[in-house]
């Protein structure tokens, strides 16, 4: 690990000033510290943000919730209002990592975690140094992307939490030295395109302060389901967050483990706007969404798996 200076901030402005000119913010460190050990990350300065007054879940004026960026994953998943009004979010967080890691990891850090593509940590690739190629495409890619990938990178985004937040139209709030800003989570992770090293739309130096969950008629009847290679403590092969509003007959669907970012299944959602909520329609909606899938030789199973998950979980959400 490279040497670094360490500073603990107790005030958002102090954190922004301390990080000005290049530093990494340290939350729980569960991904960043590990990547520093591997040499993938080599910050010269860490600004520890866990003492900032940003932890906690509070009510938003529109009936939604504001989740402070330094709230731990554990506290988020255990929060009664999250469990009551956004059960898929609680389930998504609980499906990720281990009890120990969830006690450490923060909400802001969870959004900024890096891919677990083994090539990314083991060797240089396009995500680390543009122009160095994507070894996974011709190599081991059984757990890689089937949607939205390019020849530049086929890695997936590892977060479970972000998949559920995307289904509920979450908005990321941040602060910069010249003021606050916000980005809908749907625009937070840019398409991989030819810039797989540009993973978020967060401006340089910006500090995530909160994630806002809008009040939602879809979220109370929602569910997260994750398929993985072990019974627990593994990243998703495919996961789904889905919500159903019986009054409006509308659904929200987001998938994990299928793309470089959490994948909102807007084609399937649009299909179901004009269709009765039947098993046949769920299957047809899944097929419509996955018509755009481009599986590699080793991960074609994910197309069928994602389709089965969409159909099954939507059926489970019906009364």
């Amino acid at each position: 690990m490279k040497e670094f200076a360490y500073e603990r901030a107790t005030d958002v402005r102090d954190a922004l000033i301390a990080a000005d000119g290049g530093a990494r913010y340290l939350g729980g460190g569960t991904n960043l510290v590990d990547l520093m050990k591997e040499g993938v990350e080599a910050p010269t300065r860490l600004v520890d943000v866990r003492q900032l007054p940003l932890a906690g879940v509070s009510e938003a004026p529109d009936g939604g919730l504001v989740i402070g960026a330094t709230t731990t994953n554990s506290d988020l998943a255990a929060h009664p209002e999250v469990r009551r009004r956004y059960p898929a979010l609680s389930q998504a967080v609980l499906a990720g990592a281990s009890g120990q890691l969830r006690n450490m990891a923060t909400v802001g850090g969870n959004l900024l975690q890096r891919t677990r593509c083994a090539y990314f940590t083991a060797q240089v690739c396009n995500k680390r140094v543009p122009g160095t190629g994507c070894p996974a495409i011709a190599g081991e890619h059984h757990n890689h992307a089937i949607l939205g990938w390019t020849r530049n990178c086929v890695a997936t985004h590892p977060s479970d939490m972000a998949v559920a937040m995307l289904a509920f139209d979450a908005v990321v709030r941040y602060e910069m030295l010249d003021g606050p800003g916000e980005i809908p989570l749907a625009e937070f992770y840019p398409p991989v395109g030819d810039t797989p090293h540009c993973e978020t739309a967060l401006p340089p130096g910006a500090l995530i302060t909160a994630v806002v969950l809008p009040g939602s008629a879809v979220s109370p009847r929602s569910r997260y389901r994750k398929v993985r290679e072990r019974a627990s403590y593994a990243f998703a092969t495919v996961s789904i967050a889905a919500g159903l509003d019986l009054d409006e007959g509308s659904v929200r669907i987001a998938l994990g483990g299928v793309a470089s970012r959490p994948w909102r299944a807007r084609t399937a959602e649009a299909f179901l706007l004009d269709a009765p909520l039947t098993a046949e329609a769920f299957r047809a909606a899944a097929d419509a969404e996955l018509a755009a899938a481009e599986p590699l030789p080793g991960n074609g199973y994910k197309v069928r798996l994602a389709g089965n998950l969409i159909e099954t979980v939507l059926k489970e959400l019906q009364p």
Binding site: M1, E3, F4, A5, Y6, R8, L26, G28, G29, T30, V33, D34, M36, K37, L46, D48, R50, S74, A77, A78, P80, R83, R84, P87, S90, Q91, L94, A95, A97, S98, G99, Q100, L101, N103, M104, K226, A231, S232, Y233
Partner: protein, 180 residues
């Protein structure tokens, strides 16, 4: 001249205050083992994947290998050495011995610290991925074998003592329940 790559930190470890100067790169695990001399927390994978380094930090279980010592400034740490405060082993520790909750023992101190933290989480009403309904309005999750396996999944045992570990944790939880 100040060395910006080192820090002086205070830690309370098993009730004893320590003050030490650390390279900022030092993990809490290395500080506990190398600087303070508590070798209960073990270095298994050093990447947060095996749980052998689990300690309680301000009462919550964490992996000390991904915790920077400098970031633990001011924290109260409990390692396996500190679980039996008054010299008598915890019911959990006694259950591990009686039910063969270990073979080689390398993962055991992490398993014990993790189980202590996990039982407190369950007592606080936290759901897990094995909980069918996470609603706070329903019944509290009942700690059965499936719940224990899920909640303890961050602790690997290469000897495969899992069935006995699950039994030891369940027996301890049942005992706590009886004692109220």
């Amino acid at each position: 001249m100040t060395n910006h790559h080192r820090s002086v930190i205070s830690l309370q470890v098993n009730g004893v205050p320590h003050r030490l100067s650390v390279d900022n790169r030092t993990t809490l695990l290395d500080a506990l083992r190398e600087d303070i001399g508590h070798t209960g927390p073990k270095k298994g994978c050093d990447h947060g994947q095996c749980g052998a380094c689990t300690v309680l930090l301000d009462g919550r279980r964490v992996v000390s290998c991904l915790t920077l010592a400098v970031a633990a400034e001011g924290a109260e740490i409990t390692t396996a050495e500190g679980l039996a405060g008054d010299g008598e082993l915890l019911p959990l520790q006694q259950a591990f011995i009686r039910l063969d909750g270990f073979q080689c023992g390398y993962c055991t101190s992490g398993q014990l610290c993790s189980a202590v933290g996990m039982l407190a989480e369950h007592t606080a009403g936290w759901p897990s991925a094995a909980t069918a309904d996470v609603s706070p309005d329903g019944p509290a999750p009942v700690l059965d074998a499936a719940e224990v396996r899920e909640r303890m999944s961050g602790n690997l045992c290469r000897c495969g003592a899992y069935p006995s570990i699950v039994r030891a944790v369940l027996e301890t939880a049942a005992q706590k329940e009886t004692e109220g």
